[in-house]
Amino acid sequence: MPEKTLTPPTGSATRKRARPQVRLARLRDFALIPAIIVIAVVGQIVNPIFLQGDNLINILQTMSEISLLVLAQTIVLVAGKMDLSLESTFGLAPGVAAWLTVAAGSGAGLGLVPGAWSIPITLAVGALIGMINALLIVRFGLNGFIVTLGMLIVLRGLLTGISGGQTFFNLPSSMLYLGSAMWLGVPASIWLCLLLFAAGIVLLGFTKYGRALYAIGGNVDAAKAAGIRTDRVLWTALVGASLLAALGGLLMSGHLASVAAGQGDGAIFTVFAAAVIGGVGLNGGKGTMFGAFTGILLLYMIQNVLTLAGVPAQWIQALNGAIIIIALVLSRLTGGKVQE
């Protein structure tokens, strides 16, 4: 690491290399498309059900909730931070809503407020968690990784505490709606997931705010020098990410018609894997929302193919881990740069 050779490449050489690299850089966004096509073909060979509409909707439905965590994490990663606590927010936010709205006597519910409050409560809890994270990371300058690791444990514990380790059932109907409704014959959560990703692509790629995130993640001093209010941008990114996690949790609860004490437990690993496979850098400033989407899509397609192939459920976890590592190796080979 002290071996930094101070020999810049000569001008003519870089200019010659320049053109093809532009194309490569653009193609980087679509790097996973061939892999997705291959998996689709393999899936179709393994089981002709694979490409049928029902199965595709099934894949999208299964990934829709967790994909909101990927969306949220991508925003935070691009800005050069990390938020591990998203998976606990995913459980705690709907958990608190259920706790306050589910009638007393049914499990751990308190029945303090009418069911119509459940969605505002979910989102408010999400926003509050985001603000605590931002306060500690941005305002007090604490290490984001450790702060959100601590938050992950605290929030998980809070959910276990309020639920007594039980699962909340008999959720109010407003909580069930988004996770279970069908719009135009397709689950509402799929529509929401696709819409939010489309919005995310626009946000990161085409807005001043999104480009400010990249600038901060790439070189925070240069971003400041360019007049970007870095603290404010980071605050909104962290709060927005927590809000998205809360929304994802709401979809999950509606889908399952319950909030388990372990909702979202362990999801953060899949989230990071999807983001990194999709080309989002862990050090900030790198990656696109579209890439992140292809990352999570690829992971869930592979899982689906394995299930269709009759791989015993006990083995899927090990295979998942292996797939993540193989995907990283492939992106190292195609991207060519050392991943830090």
Partner: protein
């Protein structure tokens, strides 16, 4: 050319003082830059150049004194936009965001709420076209080389409306052809009405490109004069000062004739850093390797210490040829090493003095890879006593020590292996005067026991105790001087100027 122009300077700093704690970085210093000039600012390390730049660009406020642009007081520090319309600086350290494209870097945070990429690229391309910078705006900025990056940063500065640009050692990382292209561009821009403040370590560049020069020394303004008609010797004298430094250079006795050769270097070359290097060091001899930053002296010293592998040539230490680029092998051959930057390579800040000082000699601390704490502390104890490190005990983390004592720990580590050859790079950088004298005294003491010493530095005080001085400039040894050299000669050789010009 300045004679018929308006007398208002484009930018000026008047009686500026800036202190950092006890250190006075600028002492009632000032500079006046007239419109259309290319003005050089020179001074040796610690002269206050960087502080003046940060004050002129509005990154810091002076403690006393005032900055004016076009005769009007400078804007508030918080008003970045106003500053950027007046002055821009191309720092040695890049202020671009490597992951983003050139186009986006040029217009960072200056677009509307929604980004229109084709339009942005067009505007960026047009901007670069205006200033004839030939760079593809779609490239990630991280893929530009230093030269292209500088041009892009200059273009960005101009796009804010600034017509006064500070170039902070722009040539330090460029090769000769790129320097020529940079100078051509500076001249073109100058004709278009852009004013430059040019900071450089290389005096011949100033004669080539600048019309006025200001010299700073020891936080003070020394002189401002027109470059034409300024004899080289006078400029060097202003830089070096009068008889600076510690006296009593040669209390040392000459190395006895017929002493063994501890270091033999033949035909060494390494990339762009240095080439055709050959010299010898005898037992007990202290040899100085003088050279400005970027002269290749650091790379050469690091090669001898095993941190780098030379492209060609051989290094022989005490009759052995250590495998190139291997620090363990260099250590085994008897090389003790004080690296350039103690914070990066010198010590592990959170580990104790004992651990740090004995890091190079684990085999003396116990058998079979185990380390005996008692033996370590005993050895560390002798080292601490030997180097007079001020500490309550060997267990204190190194980061708790003052700069001078930290450097002594690094020296202790180098001496722990009883080296046959000691390689030191800027061994007294950032330490107080007393520690400095002590460390250099220790070097002499070590040499007196028969160890050969190589000191790579641009600090004349470090080099004074040397028996012999090799001066490097742009990767070559350009001069060899015996003890008793004159300060001016060394500075001139390091800067690559001839005094008889």
């Amino acid at each position: 050319m300045a004679a018929d122009q308006a007398p208002t300077p484009l930018a000026e700093a008047v009686d500026v003082t800036k202190r950092y704690g006890e250190t006075v970085a600028l002492d009632r210093a000032g500079i006046r830059i007239m419109p259309g000039q290319t003005h050089a600012l020179v001074g040796r390390n610690g002269a206050g150049k960087s502080t003046l730049v940060s004050i002129l660009t509005g990154l810091q406020a002076p403690d006393e004194g005032e900055v004016r642009f076009d005769g009007e007081p400078a804007p508030r520090l918080a008003d970045r936009d106003a500053w950027r319309q007046r002055v821009a600086c191309v720092y040695q350290k890049s202020t671009i965001i490597p992951q983003l494209t050139v186009a986006e870097n040029l217009y960072l945070n200056r677009h509307a709420a929604f980004v229109n990429w084709p339009d942005l690229r067009r505007k960026a391309a047009a901007l670069l076209e205006t200033w004839s910078v030939d760079v593809d705006v779609r490239l990630p900025a991280g893929e530009l080389d230093v030269e292209q990056r500088q041009f892009v940063e200059i273009a960005r500065a101009l796009s804010f409306g600034a017509r006064f640009i500070i170039l902070d050692e722009p040539t330090a990382q460029l090769d000769a052809a790129a320097i020529a292209r940079l100078f051509a561009r500076i001249r073109t821009l100058q004709e278009q009405g852009v004013t430059f403040l040019f900071i450089s370590h290389h005096l011949q560049e100033i004669y080539e490109i600048c019309d006025t020069v200001t010299v700073f020394r020891d936080a003070r303004h020394i002189l401002t004069t027109s470059v034409a008609g300024l004899p080289h010797a006078e400029l060097v004298a202003a830089l070096a000062g009068e008889a600076a430094g510690l006296a009593g250079a040669s209390s040392r006795t000459a190395v006895p004739a017929g002493a063994g050769v501890v270091l033999g270097v033949r035909g060494l070359a390494y990339g762009d850093a240095y080439r055709e290097i050959g010299f010898e060091i005898q037992d007990g001899e202290i040899v100085g390797l003088a050279g400005a930053a970027g002269s290749g002296r650091t790379e050469l010293a690091e090669t001898i210490a095993g941190l780098r592998a030379a492209d060609s040539g051989t290094i022989e230490v005490a009759g052995r040829v250590p495998s190139p680029g291997s620090v363990p092998d260099a250590l085994a051959a008897g090389v003790g090493f004080v690296p350039r930057d103690r914070h990066h390579q010198g010590f592990v800040p959170m580990m104790s003095i004992a651990d740090n000082a004995t890091m190079t000699v684990p085999e003396r601390l116990g058998e079979a890879g185990l380390i005996s704490g008692r033996r370590r502390d005993r050895l560390a104890g002798t080292l601490i006593a030997n180097l007079a490190i001020k500490t309550p005990g060997p267990g204190l983390p190194v980061m708790g020590l003052s700069g001078g004592n930290q450097q002594k720990v690094v020296m202790a580590r180098a001496l722990a292996s009883d080296p046959r050859l000691l390689v030191l790079i800027t061994p007294t950088a950032g330490v107080d005067v007393k520690s400095k004298e002590f460390l250099l005294g220790k070097v002499e003491e070590t040499a007196a026991k028969g160890t050969g010493v190589l000191i790579a530095s641009d600090e004349l005080d470090d080099l004074r105790l040397c028996d012999r001085l090799l001066v490097m400039f742009q990767g070559r040894v350009v001069a060899e001087m015996a003890a008793g050299w004159h300060d001016h000669d060394v500075v001139a050789a390091m800067e690559g100027v001839r005094l008889d010009a």
